[in-house]
């Protein structure tokens, strides 16, 4: 994005992309407007420049071309945002698919079995979660009107220690032959997670150095 105080976005894009790109850009402006509403300003803080986006207007100026204008440069921020990464333990996840008649019930039974076995093995269950992909994994508080023709059950667990994650992977794998009928397509993974905490530091504390290795 070039900022010259007048036009901040102008490029040629494909027909299919133009609608989405226009929306996405407007969205970006508005999302920031929402975030910064407490300051009563639509201020965008970039490391090199603060920009006032409150008067940005977006128009289609030709086939597949969108112009956004009205952004105003304000100043160079004296503090910079720092994203601090914190080692946050391990996440294990495992997925298995059920299809056809009663697939939702069989997935729910798999969840029940894994929860019971977690108790048995002394695995902490407060961070053990189940997601019903194809049903309501993106919105668990929502109950769909119809049962889906197939379900991918996704189980996840997070802990500082790696062991619960490894345990969960073995449990899901075991459901090929020791769980509800007809489960298939198991995939498992364990990854270390990095949590992010943000803060600001004075600009003059930052010294740039490049190291090639």
């Amino acid at each position: 994005m070039g900022v010259d105080g007048r036009s901040i976005y102008l490029r040629r894009i494909s027909a299919s992309e133009s609608y989405a790109a226009g929306l996405r850009f407007v969205h970006q402006v508005h999302a920031r407007a929402a975030v910064l509403r407490d300051r009563r300003s639509t201020l965008l803080r970039h490391s090199r420049l603060s920009v006032d986006l409150s008067n940005v207007s977006i128009s289609a100026i030709g086939k597949d071309v969108v112009r956004a204008r009205g952004a105003r440069a304000i100043d160079v921020p004296q503090s910079l945002k720092v994203s601090v990464g914190i080692r946050d333990g391990h996440v294990g996840s495992g997925e298995i698919t059920y299809a056809g008649s009663l697939s939702l019930d069989r997935a729910a039974l798999a969840e029940k079995i894994i929860r019971e076995r977690a108790e048995l093995f002394g695995i902490p269950t407060d961070e053990l979660r189940f997601h019903y992909i194809g049903y309501n994994s993106t919105r668990p508080w929502w109950t769909p009107e119809h049962e889906p023709p197939e379900i991918r059950l996704r189980a996840t667990i997070s802990a500082l220690d790696e062991e619960p994650a490894l345990w969960l992977c073995r449990e899901i794998e075991g459901h090929y032959t020791n769980g509800p009928a007809g489960g298939g397509g198991v995939e498992t993974s364990v990854r270390e997670t990095i949590g992010i905490v943000s803060c600001f530091i004075p600009r003059d504390m930052v010294h740039q150095r490049i190291e090639v290795f």
Partner: protein, 109 residues
């Protein structure tokens, strides 16, 4: 049985973004008339009920210049992008959950 209720997707489109554990959703009306309708439907209490949040977690900002209603949903991303174990940690799909909102009065009983 009544006919299927119209949904928000018929008068608007939406996109979602994230900041920390908060979801930011911008809904765009398809027309100027649509914006009035959109503002009518997207009250904090209706949005809160649709996302299983308390009304205090929802901030609604109308940006008429862009026919837009911007929603700020606090603590809806189960820990934020790097910590969430959801199949959609950024909550990008929440935009279309919003558009699933039925345009009928919520029973207050």
């Amino acid at each position: 049985m009544s006919a299927v209720a119209p949904r928000l997707v018929e008068i608007a489109t939406a996109r979602a973004g994230d900041k920390g554990d908060d979801s930011l959703i911008a809904a765009y009306a398809n027309s100027d008339v649509g914006l009035m309708e959109l503002t009518h439907w997207l009250t904090p209490s209706r949005v809160a009920a649709h996302f299983d949040l308390s009304a205090a977690q929802v901030v609604v900002t109308v940006i008429s210049r862009h026919s837009c209603v911007a929603l700020h949903l606090r603590d809806r991303l189960t820990g934020g992008v790097t910590r969430s174990t959801s199949s959609d940690p950024h909550g990008k799909t929440l935009a279309f959950h919003l558009l699933d909102m039925p345009l009928t009065r919520i029973s207050t009983q």
